[in-house]
């Protein structure tokens, strides 16, 4: 409701022509659950900012004040039911959608870091169970002091790298009042590069918490949220999964005060596939800021029964689908699980360990339980986690075993191995368009205009047709999909002129129908948030399951692609005509390019419709092996209307690739410098054509000419009367070929043929000079 008011105010103010916004920061980068928090949103092109798009429920905008093009002040309210931890948000404006930035939700009130706590004696006093928002500048260290009673838990946990602001790898320590270090931590499996340090207060007193970059780096972008207090923070839960709908006992592990038992009610309404959900632990009313991960599966759950260190004493389970759960407690330990499978079954066996943020670096083996024979192994097909697809060779009992790849162990080395018959799947995503950037990873359709993108649709265990549904598109927005190009699919979105300006997150569903039944798969987009050395490695990623789509105010231009009236011939050239329609307020250049090039087709990357001109041709070429087929192509266009690039597209139009009418083969020929020669090109008529065709001999050396030859679809050869010059360079000229031009309806179709023709030119004999 609040968002709509803000939007209305802006639209009443008239159309603005800002490009998609850039979301630089949200300060503070985290907010307390169940409370209202004022945040400052900074970035670029924010003057028409309308509101937040949150991928998780429970974050509402209470007030929204656009201060200027680079700043918005908002009051956010987080519902008490909202999960702890990372919430991915975007800002949407009247002209676009920003990139994703994580916003953290925590259990504690925020405290602002002081500017004078960089030395130990000036440690900033903070209350227990608060969240400090601070920044570590280069080589800086921040100190905080907190009171604790003997036996209290003192925990400090930082969100640094996870905030997605900067390549910032924090390090934290707990010190006693004299500065003696009691505990420190740099990284741990649960928090990636972020630290979690926890100890039990040995005496009543004041304790110090320090935080810095692990190698004494830092910058103005090195934001952190440091949770300080007596709260629990387990790092693992066992089992880390269960069957949907069940109320299961679990043990939280890794907290400094030891294991904590609780019961968890798992949701019953999940799809037929397993899902991962966040699980927050509380202790005496204090909640852990970082949730753990719990798999919820529709199939049975089996817990290991020690001892299960070999095939003989393997923990038994039902036939797949089944999930086995265990902990690698001891060095060199391996856990074995037994199940029965039937010949011909194809099983996906996946270990969930690091995916659940367990320290375990899994190694998976599959065994024939009767022959005690190893059948398959995997170390790290899914990051550090193991995965393999297992074809059951015969009816019988099989075992899976899980161990640490380095034979490490620990009380939090939990894992879950899911053994599941292969489920046909179609995955849909919007891939990265600009390397290491979120640019155009959303859909922004100007009113009365179009926007095109390529979605990646990957089929696994499924070979049938499918269609894409976009059930949550804003009113007035429709989409048209072209034919698949390998694993990609062109999609053109169109907004009606009267579609309301709005921003939304929409589902994308791939619906397939195979012989075994219908298939529905959702959308999953991986977003890379932080890149750094080595090789721009993506240190922080997030995954979202809805596509961001907005209807923007009208763009000041639109582009149309004229459907070609003739096909492009294999080994031929053609061009596509793009026309532009401009609003009188805009006269600038428009850059256009192909949304995609069909296989075998190449085009100039970017062609510009110059300022004050209304059309341009995009030259395209077809290779000899370009598939003869009709494709649905579109062009996309961008123009700077004054505040950065605005993108639109044409509609999809058919582009046909055909075989050439004539193929040929040039006879070898030779002559002397200055002497004429006839070169014959033998013609092979592939397809009849009306009228005549012009055959031009190409690739001739300097100072050699050959008139074109006109042929009809009945000619079998073209003979070129080639003239040379006394200064024509002698030698073997091997690059001769023919260019065949056929006209249809006044449009030329050009293709090359007869490549590799050879003309040898010998030096003319020297004239004898009379002796004196």
């Amino acid at each position: 409701m609040f968002r709509r008011i803000a939007a209305l105010l802006l639209i009443v103010g008239g159309a603005v022509h800002a490009a998609s916004p850039h979301l630089g920061d949200i300060e503070p980068p985290g907010i307390q659950r169940g409370a209202d928090t004022d945040v400052v949103i900074t970035g670029q092109h924010l003057k028409d900012a309308m509101g937040l798009l949150s991928y998780t429920a429970g974050i509402d905008v209470v007030t929204w004040q656009v201060v200027n093009d680079g700043k918005v002040i908002a009051r956010l309210r987080v519902d008490q039911s909202s999960p702890m931890g990372e919430h991915d948000v975007r800002v949407w404006t009247a002209t676009g959608i920003s990139e994703i930035l994580p916003l953290y939700v925590g259990p504690f009130p925020n405290v602002t870091c002081s500017s004078t706590n960089q030395i130990l004696v000036h440690a900033q006093p903070v209350p227990a169970n608060c969240t400090v928002n601070g920044v570590i500048h280069y080589e800086e260290i921040d100190y905080f002091s907190v009171a604790a009673k003997k036996g209290d838990r003192i925990t400090a946990e930082a969100e640094g790298m996870r905030l997605g602001r900067d390549m910032f790898d924090p390090w934290a320590a707990i010190l006693d009042a004299n500065g003696r270090q009691l505990a420190y931590n740099d990284d741990n499996a649960l928090l990636l590069q972020d630290p979690l340090v926890s100890t039990i207060a040995p005496v009543d007193g004041t304790y110090l918490i320090s935080i810095r970059e692990s190698t004494w780096g830092g910058s103005a972008q090195s934001h952190y949220r440091l949770h300080i207090g007596s709260y629990p923070q387990p790092t693992a839960v066992f089992p880390c999964g269960g069957q949907a709908g069940q109320n299961v006992p679990v043990t939280f592990l890794g907290d400094v005060k030891g294991p904590i038992a609780e019961r968890v009610q798992l949701p019953a309404s999940i799809s037929k596939e397993s899902v991962t959900m966040p699980l927050t632990m509380g202790d005496r009313g204090l909640l852990a800021p970082t949730p753990l991960s719990m798999r919820v599966s529709p199939f049975p759950n089996v817990l290991e029964k020690e001892p299960n260190g070999n095939i003989t004493n393997a923990t038994p389970g039902p036939p797949p689908p089944v999930a086995f759960n265990g902990i690698i407690h001891h060095p060199r330990e391996a856990d074995f699980f037994r199940f029965h499978a039937t010949r011909g079954e194809v099983l996906d066996i996946t270990v969930y360990a690091r995916q659940m943020r367990s320290p375990l670096d899994s190694y998976l083996d599959v065994w024939d339980a009767n022959a005690h024979k190893n059948l398959a192994s995997n170390d790290d097909s899914i990051g550090p986690d193991s995965y393999l697809r297992f074809n059951v060779p015969a009816d019988g009992d099989y075992c899976v075993s899980v161990r640490d790849q380095l034979y490490r162990s620990g009380p939090t080395f939990v894992y879950r191995a899911e053994v599941v018959p292969v489920v046909p799947d179609i995955s849909v995503t919007l891939p990265e368009i600009v390397k290491n950037s979120q640019e155009r990873q959303s859909v922004v359709v100007p009113q009365g205009n179009r926007y095109a993108t390529m979605l990646r649709v990957k089929k696994d265990g499924y070979d049938g047709d499918y269609r894409l549904n976009f059930p949550g598109l804003p009113p007035g927005v429709t989409e048209v999909t072209g034919s698949a190009v390998g694993e990609t699919l062109p999609v053109v979105f169109q907004a009606a002129p009267d579609a309301g300006v709005t921003g939304t997150l929409t589902d994308v569903v791939a619906v397939g129908a195979s012989g075994t039944g219908s298939l529905e798969s959702g959308y999953l987009q991986e977003v890379e948030l932080i890149h750094a050395t080595p090789n721009d490695y993506p240190y922080l990623k997030t995954e979202v399951r809805r596509l961001a789509v907005s209807v923007a105010v009208p763009a000041l231009f639109r582009i149309d692609l004229t459907p070609p009236v003739v096909p492009i011939l294999q080994n031929g050239q053609s061009s596509l005509t793009v026309s532009a329609t401009r609003d009188p307020r805009f006269t600038g250049p428009i850059n256009v390019s192909m949304l995609y090039n069909p296989p075998g087709i190449s085009s100039q990357t970017v062609v510009t419709i110059p300022a004050n001109q209304n059309s341009v041709d995009i030259p395209i070429n077809a290779s000899a092996d370009a598939k003869a087929k009709t494709w649905q192509v579109a062009v996309i266009g961008s123009a700077d209307e004054g505040q950065g690039a605005v993108w639109t597209s044409s509609a999809l139009v058919p582009l046909t690739v055909s075989r050439p009418f004539i193929a040929g083969n040039i006879d070898r020929a030779s002559t002397l410098q200055g002497a004429p020669v006839a070169i014959t090109c033998h013609l092979e008529q592939n397809m009849p054509f009306d009228g005549s065709a012009t055959v031009r001999l190409m690739g001739l050396p300097a100072k050699v000419t050959a008139p074109d030859v006109v042929v009809t679809s009945t000619n079998t050869e073209a003979v070129f009367n080639v003239a040379t010059d006394p200064t024509t360079p002698p030698g073997q000229h091997r690059d001769l070929f023919c260019e065949v031009t056929v006209q249809k309806g006044g449009v030329k179709m050009v293709a090359d043929t007869a490549n590799g023709g050879v003309l040898r030119i010998d030096a003319a004999a020297k004239k004898e000079v009379a002796s004196k």
Binding site: L192, T215, R408, P534
Partner: protein, 779 residues
């Protein structure tokens, strides 16, 4: 595992007697023509050193004769023996080629051979050499129908043009040996051909009075079939100091100038050596009455007495304070520390000073830096700064916590896991080539350089290609993968992957240097190696680290360079090195205690001023050496003296250059003054050699002048109303650790007569002090 040999005089006496007895008892046969069993030896008389010469004479007389040969000792008896072993290529022909120099690096032993004929360098590949001589080039190198016409002999005798000229005469034993082998059909060696197991040289050491005196050395080879053979005519002789002791091709040592030399003999794959001391004849010398404070002084004095060298007297308190402060902490003593120390009348004040300095964190800084150099901690395109930083922090924790050095090395070598989670695994992150890892490990932790043996047997040491490949085998099963954080490397063992001798194509199982093999098992090979390195019985480890510690306090090792331990580079004082190593082991590898022993010795506390007897001595620690401060320490001292602060990456303002974690951290000053870039484990990476850039930087660069200005020390002293003499004293104390002498004051005071230019003049004097040699050197 070998136990350390006996040390000291007793050992030498025993070795001398044994050597002479063996030498006297040797029977002499033509080269390659015979052997005898140990049981055949009968010793009937007590020989004297001069008997050796007689043995040499008999050796030459007996050459070439076949069959049973009577051998006669000058004073004793050697039993007549029978030739009972057939001629072999490996044991008879190849030694002749080696002795004649055919297979040296400059001749056919070059990597590509010479003039179309390639032999393995010093005969490391007998099988290959046999094939090349008898099979290559259509076998034209030998002529079995007319052996004398064999190209091998024609070339060697210079009968046909030969780039290498004439190598031996047709009448020589060498010629006869080769000819006899050809006569016999150039037979291929049986698989059971005897192999050399050890080589000995006698006498084990020599002290020669006067110039142009001669001594014969003898070389005996022991074979695995139990036979022993005098191979003196076949051994290649070398000396490391021609001026003091020359050695002829047949093993006659001729004394030269006063000094020390090491005479070596190489036979088969082994090099052995014998130290030679030459002193003037009839030198009137009385060793002075000096205090022996501990075992170090006793063993140093033993050697000095032998050399007829008198040690220098003790250094002054001021010198000691400055020297010990720089050596132990890398920092200059403060003015207050100077005043307090000089004023103290405590007879134990030097010991108390050493104890206090050892407790300072700067002591750990120095050794963390030295270890960081040894372990090559340095970021690069392949190794993230965080990896280097985490590794360095681990190292600092180990040294600060006084973890025994053998335990540190045990943990490093056996480490597995992620380099962030287990920083010790960083040991395997910087170098990934198993060959280089083996070389680096041997050099860093044992001081042994085995690189040569990668391609051929080590020409000046004992290491064969199989030794090399056996040591490499400890590192061939290491696997690495990137961690979840790409800056982290996970090190683990894949339990497969072998080391292969490229000449024989045979898999060489893991073998410790020195010959022993670990017990075969499924366990990590590196754990076996780590345990061997850390074992007190390890023949090199403790000595190497004792030597490293020693070198820090004397500017050179007892073996120098410290990481070039080899037969041909013997320790200057083996007994001392052994004693230091034994003490280190008895201290459970707590090297602080060894540092204490060293610093409390009279030897360390001697003056750098020499006397008539020791002025030429540079390797026997008869007086304190004068050592330029290494780059990091020099910069820290300039910074400290000027009262300024430096800023280095990852360190707070005011940290010391010795605390730099990453060898890739750039610093013009440090690079100019030769700090290690940590790209190699070699001790040579640290340079204290002077060059023009250093002088120009100190004089014209911004370091000294900039720090004088930024520190404002002179200004502050003037503001404190200190008089000229007081200020000069302060400047002298904070730079040179002493007060200005009367001469100094006489020169300087007139310069300060003009009050207008007083501050500038004092700054110039400060500048001059910081540019003085006395400042830049520890003395």
């Amino acid at each position: 595992m070998k136990k350390p040999l006996m040390s000291g005089i007793g050992l030498r006496v025993v070795l001398f007697v044994v050597s002479v007895v063996v030498a006297s008892a040797l029977f002499l046969l033509a080269p390659g023509r015979g052997a005898f069993t140990k049981a055949a030896l009968q010793v009937a008389a007590t020989p004297a050193e001069k008997d050796l010469k007689v043995v040499k004479d008999i050796n030459s007389l007996s050459g070439g004769a076949a069959g049973a040969i009577p051998a006669v000792s000058g004073t004793g008896l050697v039993a007549a023996l029978r030739l009972d072993r057939p001629m072999t290529f490996r044991n008879d022909v190849l030694p002749v080629l080696t002795k004649a120099g055919c297979n040296t690096g400059g001749c056919h032993g070059a990597a590509i051979g010479r003039d179309g004929f390639h032999l393995s360098l010093f005969g490391y590949d007998p099988e290959g050499d046999y094939n090349r001589i008898t099979r290559e080039m259509g076998a034209r190198r030998i002529n079995l129908a007319i052996p004398e016409e064999s190209l091998l002999l024609l070339k060697a005798t210079g009968s046909v043009p030969h780039t290498g000229g004439k190598r031996f005469d047709p009448s020589s034993d060498f010629y006869k040996t080769v000819l006899a082998w050809l006569d016999a059909g150039a037979p291929h060696d049986p698989a059971t051909v005897a192999r050399v197991t050890s080589v000995q040289i006698q006498p084990a050491e020599m002290v020669i009075e006067g110039q142009n005196e001669t001594r014969q050395v003898h070389v005996t080879a022991h074979y695995n079939d139990g036979t022993v053979r005098d191979v003196t005519p076949l051994a290649v002789f070398l000396t490391n100091n021609e001026g003091t002791a020359k050695v002829s091709p047949d093993g006659v040592v001729t004394s030269g100038d006063r000094g020390e030399a090491f005479v070596m003999a190489r036979f088969d794959t082994t090099t052995v050596g014998s130290p030679v001391i030459v002193v003037p004849k009839g030198l009137a010398f009385t060793f002075p009455q000096v205090e022996e404070r501990n075992y170090i002084d006793r063993l140093i004095d033993d050697k000095l007495k032998k050399l007829r060298i008198a040690p220098s007297g003790l250094c002054t308190d001021e010198e000691f304070l400055r020297r010990a402060s720089l050596d132990i902490t890398g920092l200059l003593p403060t003015v207050e520390e100077h005043d307090q120390f000089v004023a103290s009348h405590d007879p134990q004040k030097r010991a108390r000073l050493v104890d206090a300095l050892l407790q300072r964190p700067e002591f750990a800084d120095i050794w963390v830096m030295k270890w960081a150099e040894l372990l090559q901690i340095r970021s690069s395109t392949d190794v993230a700064y965080k990896s280097a930083s985490v590794y360095y922090d681990w190292l600092r924790q180990q040294i600060t916590a006084n973890v025994p050095v053998n335990e540190m090395v045990r943990e490093l070598v056996s480490s597995s896991g992620g380099t962030f989670e287990n920083p010790a695994a960083g040991f395997y992150q910087f170098e990934t080539d198993p060959l280089k890892l083996a070389e680096d490990t041997a050099q860093a932790f044992l001081g042994v350089q085995i690189k040569c043996a990668q391609c051929h047997n080590h020409p000046f040491d004992r290491w064969t290609m199989n030794d090399y490949r056996g040591f490499v085998a400890f590192f061939t099963q290491i696997q690495r993968k990137k961690g979840e954080d790409p800056r982290e490397t996970i090190v683990f063992d894949r339990h497969n992957g072998e080391s292969v001798n490229p000449i024989t194509n045979k898999v060489i199982p893991p073998k410790y240097l020195g010959g022993l093999q670990p017990t075969p098992g499924p366990e990590d090979r590196r754990q076996e190696l780590a345990d061997w390195l850390a074992d007190p019985q390890n023949p090199w480890f403790a000595k190497h680290f004792a030597n490293l510690v020693w070198a820090q306090f004397f500017g050179r090792g007892i073996i120098e360079p410290v990481d070039d331990v080899r037969v041909s580079n013997p320790p200057a004082n083996p007994a001392l090195l052994g004693a230091l190593a034994n003490h280190l082991v008895s201290y459970k590898y707590d090297f602080r205690k060894l540092v204490r022993d060293i610093c409390l010795s009279r030897t360390y506390q001697e003056s750098s001023e020499s006397n008539d007897t020791n002025e030429a001595d540079v390797r026997n620690f008869s007086h304190s050496g004068i050592r330029r401060l290494r780059a990091e320490v020099l910069l820290d001292c300039i910074t400290e003296a000027t009262g300024t602060k430096d800023k280095f990456r990852g360190l707070p303002l005011g940290a010391h250059a010795v605390q730099i974690a990453d060898g890739a951290t750039t610093s013009y000053f440090l690079e100019t003054f030769g700090r290690s870039t940590r790209e190699t484990e070699c001790s040579c990476a640290v340079s204290v050699d002077p060059n023009l850039s250093q002088a120009l930087h100190l004089i014209n660069g911004n370091t000294v002048q900039g720090k004088i200005e930024n520190g404002g020390l002179v200004r502050n002293l003037i503001a404190a109303k200190m008089d000229d003499k007081g200020i000069l004293s302060n400047l002298y104390l904070r730079t040179l650790g002493r007060l200005p002498t009367a001469d100094d004051l006489k020169t300087l005071m007139p310069l300060l007569a003009d009050p207008a230019g007083r501050e500038k003049t004092l700054e110039d004097i400060f500048w001059a002090l910081l540019n003085s040699k006395e400042f830049m050197f520890n003395h």
